[in-house]
């Protein structure tokens, strides 16, 4: 067997977003005719680091990784680069390491900005907002939060975030947190959520109070959220094209591993967009919905 082997590593298979990402990596690896070693970071930088180390011992030919944390994974990626294994990063870009083959991503900060801009566009005259943040300290939570505030902080007078809480990326928590927010602050104009799960939880809370006109925005464009967008229940969700990112990354990695083909671009940046009812067709996973 002289088939090439690549490592595909994602931060946590507990989240559908990354499950999708790994599935796409798998599919592309198969299409390219290479073996895939899968790695689930299990939300722990040390676990993902250990996985990379194990893969290096096994002499994989390339690594495609969506790092859990760009700083904490840097040493491991550096190690891989030193060992001469080509590394392509997805989604989150590791700045400090020299010699990374390529990065394919759609910046979470940009995604957060897009999400906030959608709110601004929907409420040109200002709005009362709730903001549900992701797991405190987690990379995507930090970046998405930053994006949202980049846009809204300068517009503080018009767009007031009256209620800002974490719901840890979880649906059940988003539900209770939103319930409390609605009871304390009354109905908002819009709820900005750092992922779709939380958006769907917030949706349940609003539905229970019959607040059907609250505009709720999610993030990740999961099929379930797309359906809700289609049905007018969610106002929108941010699409970062994880599938395309993953496939592109695998293509670049395999091409290099096979015959040292340098990628055309070292930096492939996909611009995140907000999927609304009108541009549903742009969503990557629309086909998975019924």
């Amino acid at each position: 067997e002289d088939k090439l082997t690549i490592l595909g590593s994602v931060p946590s298979l507990g989240f559908p977003f990354f499950v999708h990402m790994l599935n796409e990596i798998k599919a592309e690896a198969q299409a390219q005719g290479v073996n895939l070693t899968e790695s689930d970071g299990q939300n722990s930088a040390t676990k993902q680091t250990a996985d990379i180390e194990a893969a290096l011992v096994q002499k994989v030919n390339a690594i495609v990784i969506s790092p859990l944390d760009v700083n904490a994974l840097a040493p491991a990626i550096e190690e891989a680069v030193k060992a001469g294994v080509p590394v392509v990063t997805i989604d989150r870009r590791v700045d400090g390491v020299q010699g990374i083959l390529a990065h394919v991503g759609a910046d979470n900060v940009k995604g957060g900005e897009a999400e906030a801009q959608a709110v601004v566009a929907a409420f040109p005259n200002g709005a009362k907002l709730f903001h549900l943040q992701g797991q405190p300290g987690a990379g995507p939570a930090i970046d998405r939060n930053k994006g949202v505030h980049n846009v809204l902080d300068p517009l503080k007078d018009k767009y007031q975030i009256v209620y800002e809480q974490t719901a840890n990326f979880a649906r059940a928590e988003a539900l209770t947190v939103t319930e409390a927010g609605l009871a304390a602050n009354g109905k908002p104009d819009a709820i900005i959520c750092a992922n779709d799960d939380m958006a769907l939880g917030a949706l349940e809370a609003c539905a229970a109070r019959n607040f059907s006109d609250v505009k709720i925005y999610g993030f990740d464009a999961l099929p379930e959220a797309l359906v809700a967008v289609r049905d007018g229940k969610l106002a929108g969700t941010v699409e970062q094209f994880p599938g395309k990112q993953s496939r592109t990354a695998v293509q670049i990695a395999v091409a290099y591993a096979k015959d040292k083909t340098e990628p055309k671009e070292k930096l492939v940046l996909l611009t995140p967009i907000v999927i609304g009812k009108d541009n549903l067709d742009k969503a990557e996973r629309l086909s998975e919905t019924k």
Partner: protein, 338 residues
Amino acid sequence: MSIAEEQSQRGGVTIARLLMSFGPLLFLAALVIVFTVLKPSFIDPINLFNITRQISITGLIALGMTFVILTAGIDLSVGSLLAFCGMVAAVVAKGGTANTLSLSTSGTQGFGWFAALLAAVVVGALAGGVQGFAITRLKVPPFVVTLGGLTVFRGLTLTISNGGPISGFDASMRWFGTGLIGPVPVPAIIFAIAAILCHIVLRYTRYGRAVYAVGGNAEAARLSGLRVDRILVSVYVIVGFFAGLAAFVLSARLNSSEAVAGIGYELTVISAVVIGGTSLFGGIGSVGGTVVGAALIGVLQNGLQFNNVSSYTQSIVIGLILILAVAFDRWLKSRVRR
């Protein structure tokens, strides 16, 4: 001892008992007052019913956990088991693992809410039973068995669902999570009924007595003719049953069963039981205490969110209050005793 003396002592004991069981309750009352002063809308019925609905999920599991902890055991697997049972319920309700991905239920060919409920509680009870068996037969401590269970059930859940949620249940099922009877949320009613039943079982039945005895001194219980192993297995069956019931209610409430549901619930649930005065060494505790403990945690979380306290500060405050509540309870008990 004279009759008068005896009488006075009885009186003393009763007041002591009352005060003791009031420890966490006093603390709870204080919290409610503080939050109401901070923001009077806190005691709006809507918010109070929100709280009851919110605590009903972990509260249900905490009822089962009370049995377990009374026997000096512990169950760390409840969060994962909740996710597992929820996933099973979803599969049964929807007739397959495929996520239809439409939030409507048209086109699904599931087996209805009753089958889903049954599946959840039976699977939960069975899973609990298996763990109970490992504890009694393999003589592996409950901490280890259920720590293993925590990982195993999570893995099974992820395997079933392939990481994603299964969503979209029919209205009859959703009623159990979102319905109201009068102004009262259905989950709160389920929790209340379950709590009353558990109270009766523990306080007034022979089985309840046996649970306390096993927790108080397992060897003495065996030598008194109690079938200790059976009782131990039974409490894990009970907590598993409640994890299943809670899973059903949660899925109905969220209209979705998620693979990541219930992460960290074990600690919330155990906190509720312990704040309620149940001893981790077994033999001491009550359902009433657990209900108060669950309410205390629920009020605390809701109240802090209500005041839009930053999540970082929330963590700090919740941790400190947890310790203080138990310290206050201990202090009260030690005062009353002397």
